[in-house]
Symmetry: C2
């Protein structure tokens, strides 16, 4: 017989709550960490209203001008259907432009506008600040190890 209140009394949170099998699951730790890191990114770049996915799209386009939407979507692992909306938003803000391709009239060549390039520089500075928060949270060496461990997924 276990000593336990007879199912009627709820336990608010006075004593510690064990996670049991969850502590051995990488996915659980990764999810919690991912929530934290995205919140910090969004907060750090709130002044420029840029979210992680938008930042990743602009960075890839900036480094590889002329890419197709399919190419960007594949490279970043996002749905091409979703990229359409992301680009619509970025294009409305004059940060990105779609140029109709001559060689393949189905596709668009993606480029940053002049304003987009200037803005991206600022975004990168803010993102670097966010990354310093990560370093403070994890420790310099742990962050480096983490990047190394997950390098295959990029």
């Amino acid at each position: 017989m276990r000593k336990r209140p007879g199912n009627g009394a709820a336990r608010p949170a006075g004593d510690e709550i064990g996670l049991d099998a969850l502590i051995g699951h990488a996915g659980y730790a990764v999810r919690r960490f991912q929530i934290w890191i995205f919140q910090d990114f969004i907060r750090t770049l709130a002044a420029v209203d840029i979210r992680p996915t938008q930042y990743s799209v602009m960075t890839v386009i900036g480094a590889n001008p002329g890419l197709t939407q399919m190419a960007v979507a594949k490279r970043l692992g996002i749905e091409r259907a979703r990229l359409v909306h992301l680009l619509n938003s970025l294009e409305r803000r004059k940060l990105v432009k779609r140029i109709k391709s001559k060689s393949d009239r189905r596709s668009h060549a993606l480029h940053l506008t002049a304003q987009g390039e200037a803005s991206l520089d600022q975004f990168k500075r803010l993102a670097a600040e966010h990354e310093r928060h990560v370093e403070e949270k994890l420790g310099k060496q742990n962050r480096a190890r983490l990047l190394q461990i997950l390098a295959d997924f990029t």
Copy 2:
């Protein structure tokens, strides 16, 4: 002057696409990894139709019977509003039951049903299989390091 096709020719994906600043961002790597690991979890537990969040809720309740909904939500970092729907679903499946608390008539004491406990054992075996997939993907030592690095977020 940069040598570059005159903005009209799109680049499908022939050559490699550089990630530029993204490779130095832990958040990007974590996001890609999280997508992979959740997909594997869902696939591995597809036969029992259990998703990561449902598994985490049942595991915590199983290890700490009588917890309040607020206590579970806080411990797992999920919205209490969201936990309501999760518990509705689990209760419909006769895996979890809400018992009205005598001491605090606002709250519910959460317990696994007998079927819930038996099912959770099976879920844990499948989750362990999923964790072996993670180990194969990352390497035994890298997975251990990852868990250690992110231990503070659990």
